[in-house]
């Protein structure tokens, strides 16, 4: 009996290998590019937006005791639902906490949009079938250490144990950086929550991640003073919503909702006054942004076939402008001095020449 089972096990292995070999031999398949998706229509038909978000990141995407998902990224999901479906509650939040499977969720159409502190990079754009919309949060990769560790820059980190999230740009950045400065280090990889916990427990000397990630995790701790974020930033990490390739209509909608929210802040439209502004727009730009006629004229239809001209208005009415979203979700913990560009907004209070980089494209 035993011998027979062996034979069968071996046969099974052989069968798999053979299957692989057969599959290898025949590569051409049906060929052709991906069919053009029409995610907006899919969302409308479904009556619900599937939004891939984090569920374990303080401030950006986490869960409250009653099961609701909250955070900075979540607000954009609501804004999109309001824009497309006219109801900001019609969102299904899908857990994309694991960085190493998030793009698959998008590609396998488990989610319509990925709003999960995801960095735009060229290689992701090219290889992973993902397209990025307007950045919602600009950050860079930083390092957190314990205040008493005596580490002031990466040049002090020779042989250090560095906790880094697996399957992210940060993992590659830190490897490149240490190759450049010629130091060795010992990586400790995993999910972002797990590596952060390992760092706070003292398992590693350094935690590297997006500075916003580090700040959000340190800020909410009781012993926040025991940790510091080094001023050194080794990369640019623009965090943006991701959508599937070959679906420009949906990408446009996501893109312009984000721009619209930023523009709303720039020109002073808020959740509170959006209704009044829409009823009585003070100028043509506000009218255009909110999709309402200016002084009895025509509604400026900007030609997004799949959504009506008021989609940005609904988004603002649902979640407020970019600044309101920011202040409501992360403002208490990560102060925002200059996210808006000084040249655009003369009254932003930023020192000269240090304008922020959020800047809405012209909506006309």
């Amino acid at each position: 009996m035993k011998k027979l089972r062996f034979g069968l096990l071996a046969a099974a292995v052989v069968a798999i290998v053979a299957l692989v070999a057969v599959a290898c031999g025949d590569d051409d398949g049906d060929g052709g590019g991906e069919g053009r998706g029409n995610t907006v229509q899919t969302i409308k038909d479904r009556g619900e937006l599937k939004c891939g978000v984090k569920q374990t990141q303080p401030l950006f995407g986490f869960r409250e005791a009653d099961g609701t998902v909250v955070g900075f990224d979540i607000e954009f999901c609501k804004a999109l639902a309001a824009a497309v479906l006219k109801d900001h509650t019609k969102v299904e939040y899908i857990d994309a906490s694991d960085a190493s499977t998030r793009f698959e969720l998008l590609n396998e159409e488990e989610i319509d949009v990925l709003i999960r502190t995801t960095t735009i990079t060229a290689s992701r754009d090219r290889e992973l079938g993902v397209d990025f919309a307007q950045t919602t949060f600009y950050t860079g990769q930083g390092f957190a250490v314990r205040t008493d560790s005596g580490i002031d820059s990466t040049s002090d980190m020779g042989e250090a144990i560095i906790c880094v999230q697996t399957g992210t740009t940060t993992e590659q950045n830190v490897a490149d950086h240490f190759t450049d400065i010629g130091l060795e280090y010992d990586p400790q990889g995993g999910l972002s929550q797990d590596v952060a916990d390992a760092f706070f427990a003292g398992r590693c000397d350094v935690l590297t991640a997006d500075a916003s990630d580090l700040a959000s995790r340190i800020a909410v701790r009781d012993d926040a003073a025991d940790y510091k974020i080094l001023p050194q930033i080794i990369s640019k990490e623009p965090l943006a919503p991701g959508v599937r390739d070959y679906d420009s209509e949906w990408k446009d909608v996501v893109n312009w909702v984000v721009h619209g929210l930023i523009r709303a802040e720039e020109i002073g439209i808020t959740k509170a006054n959006v209704g009044q502004m829409a009823a009585n727009p003070p100028n043509t730009e506000v009218a255009r942004l909110l999709g309402v006629p200016f002084q009895g004229g025509e509604v400026a239809a900007l030609g997004f076939d799949s959504v009506d001209p008021q989609f940005i208005q609904r988004a603002i009415a649902a979640v407020g402008n970019y600044g309101e979203i920011y202040d409501r979700t992360i403002g208490d913990n990560i102060p925002r001095a200059c996210t808006l560009n000084d040249l655009v907004l003369n009254n932003s209070g930023c020192p000269d020449g240090q304008g922020g980089i959020q800047y809405a494209l012209p909506y006309r």
Partner: protein
Amino acid sequence: MAVAAGGAPPPSSEVPLLYRRGVRRLLTQGIYVALTAVVIGYVYTSLDLREFGFGFLSEPAAFKVGNQWLTDVDGVTNSRITMYLVGVWSSLRAVLVAIALSTVIGVLIGVARLSSNWLVAQMAMLYVEIFRNTPLLVQVVLVYTILLIGAPLIENVVNVGDFFFISNRGMAMPWPVPDSGFWGTPDWFVGVWVAALLAIGFVAQRVRADRQGRERETGQPHYPNRWALGVFAVGAVISFFALGAPVSIDEPVIVGTHYIEGMVMEPEFTALVAGLTLYTSAFIAEIVRGGIQALPRGQTEAANAVGLSGYQRLTLVILPQALRQIIPSVTNQYLNINKNSSLAYAVLYDDLFRVANIVQNKAGHALEMFFVIIVTYMLISFAISVVMNFFNARVTAQRI
């Protein structure tokens, strides 16, 4: 078949074609094969095989793998398949240690379950009930969390005589390493000593067999085990110095916030192995108990009657017989350890499953990666089965 109805079966020529057994079988199998082919064909066509191939495995990895031991692969220039093999080595280490530990603990607990001492038996039962009925994932994660939070920081490391350290960065302990010795021999020379040890072990085994034979013949004690051990110890010491002390002990040192030298058992490894061991040993304990209970009571009574001590009764009479029933089930548990080692994914231990996932994340090719994973697990399972079947053959060689 038709015997019960009376009379011999009719000659096959009289049975209509469709009712002949051979024809029916052929037909059934034909339909079955056709259906299977349709299903496989459907699966095959629905898979996206346009970019199928294993070329991506030989591209540069561009990621690092932690928890390395005896390897030092930085991942910048190495290929993805190299990194995967590093992960396989990490898995193998954890699996082997977990197999060894869970066997020892499992047998102990299993025997304790049948102890005449009520308290010991109850404790063993408690152990089994707790660890068998909670998810392994939770056990592994819990052990890891306790190690991280519970063990001291490296700044407050527990230092045992300057050669053994415990902190939440792992346990550091002395470890033998190849040494140039008296005569400046290269590192590989340690292999010569290992070969010498094997030869001495063989000789010791012969001595033991010979003394056992004489013991059996004469009825006089010839101390086979003590002799064998003595021969081996003396041989080992002599060969060690004769070959110029090719091995030295490397003691761990703490520099700043990390260990150097020695061997470091990192908390990820410890958590995985501890979780696998606690979980599997509870199952092995039940198998051992079942194996022992299946023996006729007369065996225990007979052992008592010839005046064996409790320990002798267990090791000479009970366990050797119970092994016949135990080994096949325990083999299954070993295979489970192999498969369950994939839970390393949850404790930041870079085993083969995690490395495969990283590769998949960077390069796509989920289908190919899955084939690689399953073939690897099957090969390891196959190796475990081969070894265990060898043992099984030895145990069952003697008929009772």
